[in-house]
Symmetry: C2
Subunit: 287 residues, 2 copies
């Protein structure tokens, strides 16, 4: 008694699906869905995926959906931990080689952080190890970038952002908006940030554990830097000495984004970092 199951491939089913797409109004979506399904079917054939495994996949998608709320976007978290958000950002930023890389913005940015003068502190609760962060802004074609708007935000010494714990930290703690001086420099007085666990109490966290992947991000500060004639830069600056530096769960670490936090005689730390901004070609053509 021959069993025909070996003759029936998932691939053949995917091709049957793709054959129906010839009249699709959205040709690009049709190509994407046709090829995505064919690739998935190929994989299901290679691994001889079972019906139980299809059910498990549907169960996982269902749980990710259920984990979403007004305060939580588990799909974005899933795209982040798969490295997709960072990869799309890098591929499409289309920056010149010498420019500081863009990264994902993450969920903790808030617009409208208070204006601060050079050397003014953004640490409003006095907690943590003092950090003097010197930001130097340079153009990708040479020279300082003055009068740039520099927004900074970061977690505190416990790895918690101000908007994650509004009752525990003052409004806009560890957030500020600076302006670079004529030499393209600004000194940000703040405290040393600590890394933190991404929200891993949902289905994405369970997936990370099943895959043996870490959930702790290395310590970093985040920046949004805009200046007339330049592409807006959204990026991280990472603490090179953080043990988690080799395996950021969000894949945002880049060799060009590592900085040294060095001890100072007063018990604090100092860090300086040079941001290379890319000229806005579109802007240059217009002006």
């Amino acid at each position: 008694m021959d069993v025909r199951a070996t003759d029936i491939t998932m691939k053949s089913a995917a091709l049957a699906f793709a054959e129906r797409l010839h009249a699709a109004p959205d040709k690009r979506l049709a190509r994407f869905m046709g090829e995505l399904l064919t690739d998935f079917a190929d994989l299901a054939d290679r691994m001889d995926m079972s019906r139980d495994e299809l059910q498990a996949a549907i169960g996982f998608l269902t749980e990710v959906g259920e984990a979403c709320s007004e305060r939580r976007q588990e799909w974005v978290l899933l795209a982040d931990v798969l490295g997709l958000t960072s990869a799309f950002e890098r591929r499409h930023a289309r920056l010149p080689d010498e420019a500081t890389p863009n990264t994902l913005a993450g969920p903790f940015y808030r617009p409208g952080a208070p204006r601060r003068a050079d050397k003014e502190s953004i640490c409003l609760d006095g907690k943590g190890t003092p950090l003097v962060f010197t930001a130097r802004l340079r153009s990708s074609d040479g020279g300082p970038v003055s009068a740039a708007r520099i927004e900074v935000w970061h977690a505190n010494g416990d790895g918690v952002y101000e908007n994650q714990a509004p009752d525990m930290q003052p409004e806009f703690n560890l957030r500020g908006t600076y302006t670079s001086g004529p030499d393209g420099t600004v000194r940000i007085f703040t405290i040393r940030p600590r890394g933190y666990r991404i929200p891993d109490d949902g289905p994405v966290g369970r997936l990370l554990r099943q895959l043996g992947l870490p959930a702790t991000r290395p310590a970093h500060l985040q920046f949004r830097i805009s200046a007339s004639g330049y592409r807006t830069l959204i990026t991280h600056v990472f603490d090179r000495s953080d043990p988690a530096i080799a395996a950021d769960p969000l894949f945002a670490v880049d060799p060009a984004l590592l900085a040294d936090f060095t001890a100072t005689p007063d018990g604090g730390v100092a860090c300086s970092f040079t941001f290379i901004l890319a000229r806005d070609e579109h802007h240059r053509k217009q002006t």
Copy 2:
């Protein structure tokens, strides 16, 4: 000014992800996720998928999740309309070539439909075109299968199942449990079913429209047939003359599942269909 974007592929990001999976507790899941992500990244590179398109994909997944409720499983519907449910069923049923193919069970099955005698009707509201459906049960190695339990369920002449419209149809309308006679035959008195639209008012329905795919299933009866010593068969019998027969949105149509509904002198229709049941090899070895 060189732009490095062309050097940055999604594929390289996916490989960086896969490299982290060496210590995964769940090796099979790790292989699946690593290869799935690599395939997806290859596709994103081939199509030069944009950040907006990644956002749109995340938006679609979010909406599918939001469309789910206690009464609706939009993920299962998505797997169904992509042909995955039917394909997994066919590949894994592992039936002998001559046996009647298994299909997906669908969401409308109810256990415990009333027992009916040969020639007894399951149409409880008297509405519709009378149908005499003769079911002949044969073994894949020859001979009739008697004393089999045959559960049947189908939509009414408006394409609506009894449990979709509990206020409009009597309880267990067009559902029944028969037993095959000594010759392996039973006659089911009912009415001719009509096809129906799958629930297409959600994100999956919108996807179907974007892809130019139909939402109307061809008319059919569904069966669950169990008999001692045989594999339980869950399947559809389709009306070959239905205009939607060439493009079932759920991909359950198989040449071996087509039947002719022929007019009878009394204004009704008649249909006969031979179900070929596969021997239960496991059962046979045990006994």
